[in-house]
Amino acid sequence: MHDANFAIERGEFFAMLGPSGCGKTTTLRMIAGFETPTEGVIRLEGQDVSHVPPYRRNVNTVFQAYALFPHMNVWDNVAFGPRSRKVREAETKKRVGEILEIVRLTEFAKRKPAQLSGGQQQRVALARALVNFPSALLLDEPLGALDLKLRQAMQIELKRIQREVGITFIFVTHDQEEALTMSDRIAVMSLGFVEQIGTPEDIYHHPASVFVAGFIGSANLFRTHIDRRSDTETAVSIAGRPVVVPATDGDAVIAVGAPAIVMVRPERVRVVMAEPQNSSTGVPCTVTDLVFQGPVVRVALATADGQEVVAHIGADDQLPLLRPGDNVWAGWEGDAARLLPEPEPGRAPAEDSMIQPTPSPST
């Protein structure tokens, strides 16, 4: 783990998102107290808890495989926390009853974990943690073990429970869709670094780095250099043609002449036959492939210098009849483009994102 400095608000649904091995689970285990940071501190409600053992921290975890106690029934599993913290039996009874109500498992109280379905076990794990009224609830890939249908249902369920109890949820996942759907804010992590923290909209529309752009959704990335810069816009060239990127808040400051990357989301790319009126936000291309994907048609294009461009064209958009080899224009609204700094060496971008650091030799 490297620089990871962030504060999480009370009552927030906060996601740590990143590929496996990015340090998100380690961060979670540090917050829970299973691991000690070599440097820096962890504060809980303002108090330094870096060296407080897990059983004395007021945070609770929902483990990846739930870790329900197999020899106890649902009720005893949920009551384990309050009993360990010496809560009076009457109070324990009341709290366990209430929380089982919230997760809708009241009639399963006498069952053993092995007699429950995956979704029910997940809710027991949630109840067992929430019954302690933690300052924060930590969830380690909690939906990973569930199938797709159940996962989607649990996403909504988790959100509902979080609103109902008003407890801070810190959620670790590698699934960008899950993070976008559920979180108030997301921290995108890579190789122990926090790449960006922001709301889902923020992160999707204004990624701070090539890694974030590629990890959340897909992105067209044009490798270029800064030609000119003013307060309102930056001029670059793509495939030998001048292109203008309007300035937005939070842009990285990149020196004139330095390498930079222009990012455009595929669904913002328009494909037109003739040169658009504002040719400073578009490049001429050749069609290389067309794939029908249901909601969208994926149009693969190539610029004159061989950079690949992908456009997602929806059913309502006017798509001219295209064939591979046709010469067209790929254009976009000015605010669809975003200028990103060149990734630092050693901080490799995500592999399965659409990134073309070198022009492909084909077409």
Partner: protein
């Protein structure tokens, strides 16, 4: 394409080779059952003999030949006070040795399974050493040790010796039980506010109890019948096996069989209760 069609011709519903007739396969199954019965008989025959001869009325002092059935021996099982005292002495040692060895061995197994520490693999290797060393060597070197440490031989030295060879058995048994143990359960317990001791008592221990019980019974059985090591370190003390062997030169009364049958009965009962509890627990865990 020639190879493909050739392969096709060679195919069909049945591959080549000899298909034994149905009666031969039935005979095979029958012979297998007979063989299995013979092996089981071989395993259990000596135990049946022990029990059977506790009901024998021997001619003379040696209970070696079957004469006729009697319940006299069971009416007076404690007739020979030497035997009874030796049995009491052995039981005392076996219970204490098994208890101490179980506690030590179980903790050792948990440490070996739970943590990766320096020397972990060496301990894992050395743990089987007491099992593989010939007892005669262990016994004589223990005696050397006790003599040079100037320790009087007796109850304590027998106990020390028995605990020593039982610990290895316990550690191996419990370690086998711990393979596949989900250690995140301990994390979960601590996460829920249970300090280490409560976590051990409420989560770890209940889940490995069947293994610990088995280890205890095994230690008990090993301790109560050990002769070779015991005879070296016992001094003037007389355990049941020592008494039986000493006495065998002058007489073998059927009461030996009676006492042995009693011990056997207790062991089997405890084991049955244990596996019954285990089965019920398994049923509850579904």
């Amino acid at each position: 394409m020639t190879t493909l069609s050739a392969r096709h011709e060679a195919g069909g519903a049945v591959t080549g080779g000899f298909t034994p007739p149905v009666w031969a396969r039935k005979l095979g199954t029958y012979l297998l059952n007979v063989w299995a019965s013979v092996v089981l008989l071989y395993l259990f025959a000596p135990i049946f003999v022990i029990i059977a001869f506790s009901f024998n009325k021997p001619k003379g002092r040696f209970n070696y030949l079957w004469q006729r059935f009697t319940l006299d021996n069971w009416r007076h099982p404690f007739r020979y006070s030497d035997l009874v005292h030796a049995m009491e002495y052995s039981l005392r040692i076996a219970v204490i040795a098994a208890a101490v060895a179980t506690a030590m061995g179980a903790l050792m197994a948990i440490a070996l399974a739970r943590y990766r520490f320096r020397g972990n693999s060496i301990v894992n290797l050395l743990i089987v050493l007491p099992l593989t060393t010939p007892e005669i060597v262990l016994g004589s070197s223990l005696l050397t040790l006790f003599i040079s440490a100037n320790t009087p031989r007796g109850f304590t030295t027998i106990l020390i010796a028995h605990i020593m060879f039982c610990v290895s058995f316990v550690a191996l048994t419990v370690k086998a039980r711990l393979r596949g143990f989900d250690w995140t359960l301990e994390d979960a317990s601590m996460d829920l506010g249970a300090p280490p001791w409560r976590t051990f008592r409420k989560v770890t221990l209940p889940l490995i109890t069947p293994g610990i019980l088995a280890a205890f019974l095994l230690s008990f059985a090993l301790s109560i019948d050990d002769y070779i090591i015991t005879v070296f370190v016992s001094g003037n003390s007389v355990t049941f096996p020592i008494q039986v062997i000493n006495q065998a030169k002058v007489s073998v009364p059927p009461q030996i069989n009676v006492l042995a049958t009693m011990v056997l009965g207790v062991s089997v009962t405890v084991m049955a209760i244990g596996s019954l509890l285990g089965a019920r627990r398994a049923a509850r865990l579904g």
